[in-house]
Symmetry: C2
Subunit: 333 residues, 2 copies
Amino acid sequence: MSPTPEIRKDTVNNSFVILSPTRSKRPSDFKSKSNPNPNPSSQSTTCPFCAGNEHQCAPEIFRSPEHGRWKVRCIENLYPALSRDVNNEGGDFSGSGVVTSGFGFHDVIIETPEHEVKLSSLDKEGVKDVLLAYKKRVAQLCAVDAIRYVQVFKNHGASAGASMSHSHSQILALPVLPTTASTRLDSMKQYHNQTGKCILCDIQTDQLLIDKSTHFISIAPFASTFAFETWIVPCYHSSHFHELDEDKAIDLGGLLKLTLQKLSVQLNDPPYNLMIHTSPVKVTPAESPYTHWYIQIVPQLSTIGGFEMGTGCYINPVFPEDAAKILRVVEVP
Amino acid sequence: MSPTPEIRKDTVNNSFVILSPTRSKRPSDFKSKSNPNPNPSSQSTTCPFCAGNEHQCAPEIFRSPEHGRWKVRCIENLYPALSRDVNNEGGDFSGSGVVTSGFGFHDVIIETPEHEVKLSSLDKEGVKDVLLAYKKRVAQLCAVDAIRYVQVFKNHGASAGASMSHSHSQILALPVLPTTASTRLDSMKQYHNQTGKCILCDIQTDQLLIDKSTHFISIAPFASTFAFETWIVPCYHSSHFHELDEDKAIDLGGLLKLTLQKLSVQLNDPPYNLMIHTSPVKVTPAESPYTHWYIQIVPQLSTIGGFEMGTGCYINPVFPEDAAKILRVVEVP
Ligand SMILES: Nc1ncnc2c1ncn2[C@@H]1O[C@H](COP(=O)(O)OP(=O)(O)O[C@H]2O[C@H](CO)[C@@H](O)[C@H](O)[C@H]2O)[C@@H](O)[C@H]1O
Ligand SMILES: Nc1ncnc2c1ncn2[C@@H]1O[C@H](COP(=O)(O)OP(=O)(O)O[C@H]2O[C@H](CO)[C@@H](O)[C@H](O)[C@H]2O)[C@@H](O)[C@H]1O
C-alpha cells in the first residue's frame, strides 16, 4: 500500500505540488531501457568549448586564471536570446505596455577546458572557480543600469534541454523582473510580515536535511516539485548570490560537488537543471531583511505533461522526506 | 539578418516571453534526425484503452453512447495523482497551512475505441463527442463541494509526457486553486478594472488570427511561449468551459479538428499538449463579467531548460505573427 497522496504548498514560491507515490507505478508504452541520449564522447576537434578551439566561440568576456592555462571561461553566447546591441527602450511593463526591445545579456560559462569532465568531477577548488566566475559576471551585469534580474542556470544532459555536451552554464540578464522572482519576493515579504523572520533563515529542516557544511545546508524542499529535487541554502542571511566571498565559495563548492555526486550515484548520472534563485538587482533597505538567495537542483527523470503546464502544479511521486533519507546516506567515491 | 528579439508580456497570464529567432540557429550535440519515440503500433491485445479490453481498465464513469458500440469512455485513472477516497480535511491554504490530504479526482477520457486513430483524425462529430464528454465530467466534478478547480488536458506523444499512445485526455479535479488560475483571475480582473472590458472578448487578433468558425477563433497568442502555440477562444463571453452547448460543441469540434490537422501537417505530427483554461468552480457575480475560458495547444518541438524553469519566462524562436501567417494557409487533407 502506498501512502495516501498529499497536496503541499511551497510557501517560498507560492505554488502547489501533489505528492503521489502511486504515480510511479503506471506503465508506459514509450519507455525504453537504453539511454536515448548518451553524452556524445570526446569532440576535442569540433567542440567550440574545448581548449584549443577558443576561436570557434563568440567573444570572451574573461577567463580564469587570466594567464596560463585557463580553467573557466566566460564568453558571449553565439546565439543569444537577448541582444546587448539594441537600445533598451524602457522595458517598463508596469503600465499597459506589452512589448519591449529584447535588450539584455546572454553569456556562457565554460566550466572546464576538457570535454569529458563534468562539474561534479571537478575538485572542490574547481567548483569554487566556477562559482566565482558566476559571481564576477553577475556583479558586472548587475551594474548595468537597465538590468533588473540575472538568472544563472545550468542544463546537464539532453532531456534537461542541453544542446552542448561540454560542461557549461549560462547567465541571462533581463530588463524585466520575471514572474517567479516577483512572486517569490511577495511570498518572502508576506512571511516576514507575519512572523518577523526571513523565510529561508527560518526554514524547517527536520527530516528534510541532507547535508551541512560550515555555511550551507542541502535539503529536500518540503514541497519538492520533482523527485529528488534539492536546494542548497546559505545558513547566513544574504539577498544576493553575488555577495558570496572566497571563503564561502570554497565551502559551497564542496557542498555543491557532494550534492551533484550523490545525485549522480543515486540516479545514475541523471540529466538535471541547476538554477540560482537570487533577488532582484535592486533590493530596497525594506526588502533586504526578507530576501535570501538559494540554489535549486532538479533531476529530470520524467517529462512533464499538460497538467503541469496548465496549472503550474507538479505531480511528484517521491516524498521529500524519503528522498532526503536516501540522499543522506549515499556514499560518494 | 534575423529580426531583433523582443520581450512581450502575456497580459492574460501575467508572464513574459522572449521572442528570439536567432535561437533557432544554434547547433546541437544531441539532435538526431529520426523520431526517437515513434508511436507504438497496434496493441489491440495489450492496450487497456482499446475496445474489447475494457476489463483491464479502472472503473468506468460513463460511456457515450450509453448503448451499442461506445465512441468515448470516461474512466477512473488506475494510477491517480489524487485520491477520491481520502477525507478532504480542508484543503485550505489561505492561512499558514502548508499541507492537505490529497483529495481529488483523476479521470481519463478515452477518445476512440481504436488504437490507431488520433483526435485530429476523428470527424468533427467525433471531436464534438469528446468535447461533450469533457463537459459532462467537468460538470459532475464541479458539483462536488470541495472541488475548487478542474483541469482538462491532453498529452499527445512521448515528448509531451504521454505514457499511453492510445488517444486519450485526462481530467484532474483539485481541492485547491492552482497558481496559474489565480494569477489569470487577477490579470483578468485588472484588465476589466482598467478598461471595463473582458480581456478575451477584447483580444486583438490583427495579424494573429489563424481561423474563425461561427462561435470561435483560433489565434497565435501575442506572447506565445512556444513556437506555433495556438489558442482557441470563444467569441461569446463565457466563464466556464462546461457551459458549452451541443450547437457550439459541434462548431468547436470543427475548429479544433482543423487546428490539430494544420499543426500536424505543418509540423509533421508533433507531440503536443492541449489544456482547457477555465475559471475557478465558484465564480462570483462580480467575477463573471471578466472571466473567459479558452483552449491552449502547445506543440512540443524543443526541451525547455533551466532558464524557463527558473524564471517562468519562455524563449520562443518563432514570432506568433509568422506562425499565424503560415498556419492560415496550411492545406489539410
Ligand atoms: N561557438 C559557440 N560560442 C558561444 N556560444 C555557443 C557556441 N555554440 C553554441 N553556443 C551556445 O551554447 C549554449 C549551450 O547551452 P545549453 O546546452 O545549456 O542549452 P541551450 O541554450 O542550447 O538550450 C536549452 O536552454 C534554453 C534556456 O533554458 C532553452 O530555451 C532551450 O529550450 C534548451 O534547449 C547555447 O545557448 C548555444 O547558443
Ligand atoms: N488500465 C488503465 N486504466 C485506467 N487508467 C490507466 C490505465 N493504464 C494507464 N492509465 C492511466 O492513463 C494515463 C495516461 O496518461 P498520459 O499518457 O497522458 O500521461 P501520464 O498521466 O502517464 O503522465 C504525463 O502527464 C502527467 C500529468 O501532466 C505528468 O505528471 C507526467 O509527468 C506525464 O508523463 C496515465 O495517467 C495512467 O495512470
